[in-house]
């Protein structure tokens, strides 16, 4: 598989100016990662570990302090290709209110392609298609602020899809959603992945991260683990050290062991746990 994103020795510093002089915050410290086209990667890590900073570097919203990022071969620091980069790697944020700009759903979705100079007829087709794909077509003439959080987030996703990115970066897209809204958005993310889009999902929910093919853990600006969900969640030591969680099944297995039930270590999904309990003798 081709790597749609290549991160080479990325460092990123925020410089804060104040009366006492300037202070440098090393948000990313030497990160190298390759993201294969069509993959589904979850990025987890504590607050302040650098996840959003990394995401904003991926589509050129921030430019590297050191190292470089290639998106479909284009250097994000190359001004001549910044729109190619943004069109290839789209971004969905935590709070859809910050992403929705127009007063009618379909105008909002059309905003991106209009800026890219897509011809009006094609815009019309794209808008209809992406709204259908996130099940929001019936709401196309409504005002975004009258929608629920899950619906707003789906409109925001449609707006990104309308630019036809090959890769979509989701930065905590479900943090503000109710249980059903979360499930809806996760369903759409999984479907986009199945349809061949490259997906990068930043999340604090371990059950969401467990749905990816690969999990990357960031800590203090560095990548400290990179593996399959099975590998990552089996390493309870690391997770505990950086105070992350484990999925429900891993936690319950742990608790059962404390009662003397010998649950095997490879049980990390709910299905496996249910199977184990039902067959227990």
């Amino acid at each position: 598989m081709e790597n749609i994103i290549q991160i080479k020795n990325l460092t990123f510093d925020y410089i804060r100016e104040s009366d006492e002089g300037s202070e440098t915050i090393h948000a990313i410290r030497d990160v190298s990662l390759d993201i294969p086209e069509g993959s589904f990667t979850a990025i987890i890590g504590r607050n302040g570990s650098g996840k959003s900073t990394l995401a904003k570097n991926l589509n050129g919203l921030l430019l590297p302090t050191g190292g470089k990022i290639l998106v479909n071969g284009w250097d994000t620091a190359d001004e001549a290709h910044i729109w190619d980069v943004r069109q290839t790697a789209g971004m969905v944020f935590q709070n859809p209110d910050n992403q929705l700009v127009a007063s009618i759903v379909e105008d909002d979705v059309a905003f991106g392609p209009e800026n890219l100079g897509v011809p009006p007829k094609e815009i019309r087709e794209r808008v209809d298609e992406v709204l259908k794909s996130v099940d929001m077509y019936p709401f196309r003439t409504k005002s975004p602020h009258l929608l629920s959080g899950g619906q707003k987030q789906r409109v925001a996703i449609a707006g990104v899809l309308a630019m036809e990115p090959r890769c979509i970066i989701f930065d905590e897209p479900t943090a503000m959603l109710d249980p059903q809204g979360r499930q809806e958005v996760m369903r759409i993310i999984r479907r986009l992945h199945e349809e061949g889009k490259t997906v990068i999902l930043i999340t604090h929910f371990m059950d969401e991260a467990a749905q990816a093919d690969r999990i990357v853990i960031m800590d203090d600006g560095r990548v400290i683990a990179d593996g399959t969900p099975g590998e990552i969640f089996a390493d309870e030591e690391t997770l505990r050290r950086i105070r992350l969680d484990v999925p429900l099944a891993v936690d319950m297995a742990h608790r059962l062991r404390e009662y003397g039930i010998p649950v095997p270590a490879d049980i990390i999904t709910q299905e496996k746990l249910v199977e184990y309990i039902c067959q227990y003798k």
């Binding site: 925020y14 804060r16 104040s18 915050i25 890590g45 504590r46 607050n47 302040g48 570990s49 959003s52 935590q94 709070n95 005002s143 009258l146 929608l147 629920s148 959080g149 899950g150 707003k152 905590e172 943090a175 503000m176 959603l177 109710d178 249980p179 059903q180 809204g181 979360r182 604090h204 371990m206 059950d207 950086i242 105070r243 992350l244 969680d245 429900l248 099944a249 936690d251 319950m252 608790r255 059962l256 404390e258 009662y259 003397g260 039930i261 709910q270 746990l273 249910v274 199977e275 309990i277 039902c278 227990y280 003798k281």
Partner: protein, 288 residues
């Protein structure tokens, strides 16, 4: 101290074309020493409701009595209400405004007229309760923090005022799992220490089950039901219709039932579910 809400209704943009009824005849009470949670689909009116409880929004109809005072009456000093009722906003960005984290957290206590030393103590204590070190972040700008760090500062700013009623609108949204646990523990700790009323809005059914004495369920601006976590989470269908769910441990037990295991299904927390499962499995192995 208690809070009584009577027939509360609220309309945004009343009389305009985009008029929106956000609260529709809501009544409930929360008593001294209780932790109450508010759940409901996005847009169901939770934030609108809690903003009424500290006087930020004025009802279109209805009354709100906080500790014997009707705060909806004209002439009630907002300052007094805000001292009694502290509200942590859903979006911390709207709450932070000082140049440094320490100044931001000190803002409330300063307004209470406390002396310098007391203020410094409270700032240090409140920040440490939310897992931040004043020596590390105290001089930084609250706007240069990560999403989760901002939320912690916003919470610290309110608990530093030691309100008799502490309201938190989705206090753990965007927090990492460690901070999430810390904030939940902090709510419990502050509640035990201050014996105050805590009201929190949440989409996390596990937290709601673990912390609440009382659960209020909002659906399209109306209070759809209220009761203990046991009472509420047994209404699985009604919750699903309102965009909600049951706690993850309860879901696991339901799934076990569906797969043919005769486990009891009333556990709501992981502790209880583990206990019941262990007893079930030990019983099973004895039978063989």
């Amino acid at each position: 101290m208690s809070i009584q809400v009577r027939n509360l209704s609220y309309v945004y943009n009343a009389g305009m074309p985009d008029e929106q009824k956000a609260l529709d005849n809501v009544s409930f009470e929360v008593y001294n020493g209780q932790i109450a949670s508010i759940i409901g689909h996005t847009g169901s009116g939770k934030s609108t409701l809690v903003q009424h409880l500290n006087g930020l929004l004025k009802p279109s109809e209805g009354t709100i009595i906080v500790g014997g005072t009707d705060i909806t009456e004209a002439g009630v000093a907002m300052r007094e209400i805000r001292q009694k009722v502290g509200l942590v906003f859903q979006y911390p960005e709207y709450q932070l405004f000082e140049e440094t984290v320490a100044a931001d957290v000190a803002f409330g206590p300063k307004n209470l007229g406390l002396d310098e030393m007391e203020i410094n103590d409270r700032v240090r204590e409140a920040l440490s309760l939310v897992g931040l070190d004043v020596d590390e972040v105290g001089e930084r700008s609250p706007f240069d923090l990560s999403g989760g760090q901002k939320r912690r500062v916003a919470i610290a700013g309110i608990i530093a005022m030691r309100p008799q009623v502490l309201i938190l609108d989705e206090p753990t949204a965007g927090l990492d799992p460690g901070a999430h646990r810390e904030i939940i523990d902090m709510i419990r700790k502050v509640h035990e220490k201050e014996e105050n009323i805590v009201i929190f809005v949440s989409h996390n059914m596990d937290d709601v089950a673990a912390l609440s004495d009382k659960v209020l369920v909002m659906d399209r601006g109306q209070l759809m039901m209220s009761g203990t976590p046991q009472e509420i989470f047994h209404q699985r269908e009604r919750l699903a219709n309102a965009g909600l769910d049951i706690p993850s441990a309860a879901k696991l037990m339901m799934q076990l039932r569906k797969s043919g295991c005769e486990v009891p299904v009333d556990a709501l927390t992981r502790e209880d579910a583990a206990k019941e499962l262990a007893a079930y499995l030990q019983g099973k192995s004895r039978k063989c």
